[in-house]
Symmetry: C3
Subunit: 329 residues, 3 copies
Amino acid sequence: MMLDKSNFLTPSLKGAGQVFFMENALTGLFFLIAIGFASYATGVWATTIGAVLGLIIATVTARALEYDEASVQAGLFGFNGILVGIALPTFIAASPFLWLYIVIGAAVSTIVTASFAATLTKSWGIPGSTGPFVLTTWLLLAGAYSFGSLQVTGNAPKLASDYVQGTASIPAVMELLDIFFRNIGQVFLLGDTISGVIILVGIFIASRPAGIAAMAGSAIALVMAIVMRADPATVSQGLYGFSPVLTAMAVGVIFMKTSTKVVLYAGIATVMTVFVQGALDVIMAPSGLPSFTAPYVLTMYLFIAPKKLLSPHPHKPVAHHATADKKTS
Amino acid sequence: MMLDKSNFLTPSLKGAGQVFFMENALTGLFFLIAIGFASYATGVWATTIGAVLGLIIATVTARALEYDEASVQAGLFGFNGILVGIALPTFIAASPFLWLYIVIGAAVSTIVTASFAATLTKSWGIPGSTGPFVLTTWLLLAGAYSFGSLQVTGNAPKLASDYVQGTASIPAVMELLDIFFRNIGQVFLLGDTISGVIILVGIFIASRPAGIAAMAGSAIALVMAIVMRADPATVSQGLYGFSPVLTAMAVGVIFMKTSTKVVLYAGIATVMTVFVQGALDVIMAPSGLPSFTAPYVLTMYLFIAPKKLLSPHPHKPVAHHATADKKTS
Amino acid sequence: MMLDKSNFLTPSLKGAGQVFFMENALTGLFFLIAIGFASYATGVWATTIGAVLGLIIATVTARALEYDEASVQAGLFGFNGILVGIALPTFIAASPFLWLYIVIGAAVSTIVTASFAATLTKSWGIPGSTGPFVLTTWLLLAGAYSFGSLQVTGNAPKLASDYVQGTASIPAVMELLDIFFRNIGQVFLLGDTISGVIILVGIFIASRPAGIAAMAGSAIALVMAIVMRADPATVSQGLYGFSPVLTAMAVGVIFMKTSTKVVLYAGIATVMTVFVQGALDVIMAPSGLPSFTAPYVLTMYLFIAPKKLLSPHPHKPVAHHATADKKTS
């Protein structure tokens, strides 16, 4: 492998950008800055190191396995790897075994991405999206409970009956703004408001409709979570918003051609994602696993599978995200 | 949308009928009467209101999304919606948020129905049947635990080890007859004996073989549940019988051409459904979710997937249930 | 059915052999001897009787349903049945109902095998392998908790938080050798060292590369389990090794054409299987179900799905395992 700019740096940066469906190196750079800023703010750098490591290993693995070069160039094998790399240090204490875990996990995320492409995408046109990240990280994090060499922090398994239902307290306006941006930052597992702002700017650099959809998704999630009286502490961290943000973008702009009907369709999908977030929090509780972006992945799969019925049309600037998996199969 | 008889009332009534695979408006009317009678007997009308609301919303959604008109006419987008509408009020206390939940849930059930059609049915000829109802209602009910605006009644999450195994007590003959009909009524989540009788009459109106299969399924389930010593309280409510009733009909009459071999095949499927009922009760326990018709759905999928091997032939009068999903994709 | 040698005994013995992908009657005989020896050593014969019963019923069912004769001859409908027959008596106390359970379970395993062939294999070229055994046995064992007629021994449902992480104690060399062979024996749920030796000899009789892959899988699993500090009691029983043994064989030799690249690929798959073993132990805990060969099945599916990308080539002597499912659909 030649590690020159066009062969390696650009695909990696685009891989970061593809977490929000943006095949844009500058956008990816903004996202990496957002991740770094959150580390700077908290003093915990393992997440940033893990993100970069996961991104590189995932991209290198795709090259080593000679997966479709156009997809690699578009960053389509990097975005699951960066998420594995940022998620594992968020829930497992730093140690040499954690880094081993991230290296293997990021490599496996690339293989699972190819696996989803060869099945879901090939047969049904359903994009794998961050599904491979969710599956790979669930398995690795659940495994970590079994291994003395890895220490899981927080999130102990519990019964759903222990789950605290929300009280009626509605956050103050300033906090609403914070949550609005945290909803975006949490896609990268970042609870930092500024990081959310940087990410949103990065999205707008690549696509205005995508940026508007992200904002709409965050706003809808915020309103629904408060109306349904979800646990305020969870809402406040932005944990009810990041999946709806992705759903709003994916269904409203990225994988379907935007129209009045599609906007309504994406609106229902976004509201449903909030409900599925509540559902998976309960369903996953006994396993001691966070739901990650599974509420988005599940809802998006269900809403995109019958998309031919609505004569969709992939979004031009990021068409690769919708179609590249086909190229890999 | 024009809400005249041919365009709206008939498809809706057929939608009710399709819960038992019957594309017959009169049968559907009988089913609605059975649901109403159970509400009259218990004084709880939320289930009947929910059923009608779910049926209408699901059908309207299919029209709004311009799904295959022949399938809409046949009621194939209504039967999951009516089940969502009757199941949610059974487990969630009535409130404005419940009705919002049913509206969104019924709309989503139509999209999930199209999703199953575009995947399972398109690729493998497996009918989605009530799978979309099960998935949608699981997600909504699990979500309800997370939301203070919705109050889940009963069915708290527990460990399977808390599950009570059955004692040997065999019910008296009169109670056996009650259970026989409750096994049929519980397909609509109705514990009422008379409702079961009305439903069975409704099935016979549309198809004698289907009615016989329903009776056979109920009887087999009753015998197996007692022989295996399942929890008597659960057996008595008809909760061990409704999935086997559907399996016996689906595998023995609806989705395969009835023959001696197919009857034996359906018999094994029906017995297996009783075992899967016991299994899912245990597996779902930690989530605090009922298994709904999942034992039927899972067993039927597994037994129908290789049906080409047995040269099946869809049942004429209700062929649409077997084939219409294809039209929607 | 004529029960002469070519029609019945040979397919059955090959069915036993196919558990390790070997279409070889002598190998199958060795495996049956290994199972019998373990019964002799422990004095518990229910597992051996169950194995033979499951093998026969599964094969007879395939004949009765007129499934593809070449696949039946190759033993491809027997290997899930023998595993159902050996697994159920391992976790359920012997009783007339257990034998009924095994008969129905083995028959259903054949139908589920056809079901996986008609879906996973037909659409995506993914071999069902022991997936049908895992699914069927999970359902039956979970069901057993619900039925007073069946008594589940050990393995009560628990929360993952009760799971004991491993200490650092590294087993002595002699015990390492024991574990090395138990890792192989546990594919048949046998904790006996001698049984593991007999099985390994049986594999070498049919294929030297397969035997070497089995040894490599066992060694890798042993090293990883110790390095990751998995629970020593579990490691010692060989429970961290049997799935990796199958993964190493399946990915390295059976379903892909062996090469330097494929050996590396299989190595990553084998290591990942150890992690997935740890994961599923935690995830399955609340259900009170063992993970059986699910860690192998899941990992193999994910690694084989995109196999076209690596231009694979089925292993000659056991090509039927890779391709026969296609014939059944």
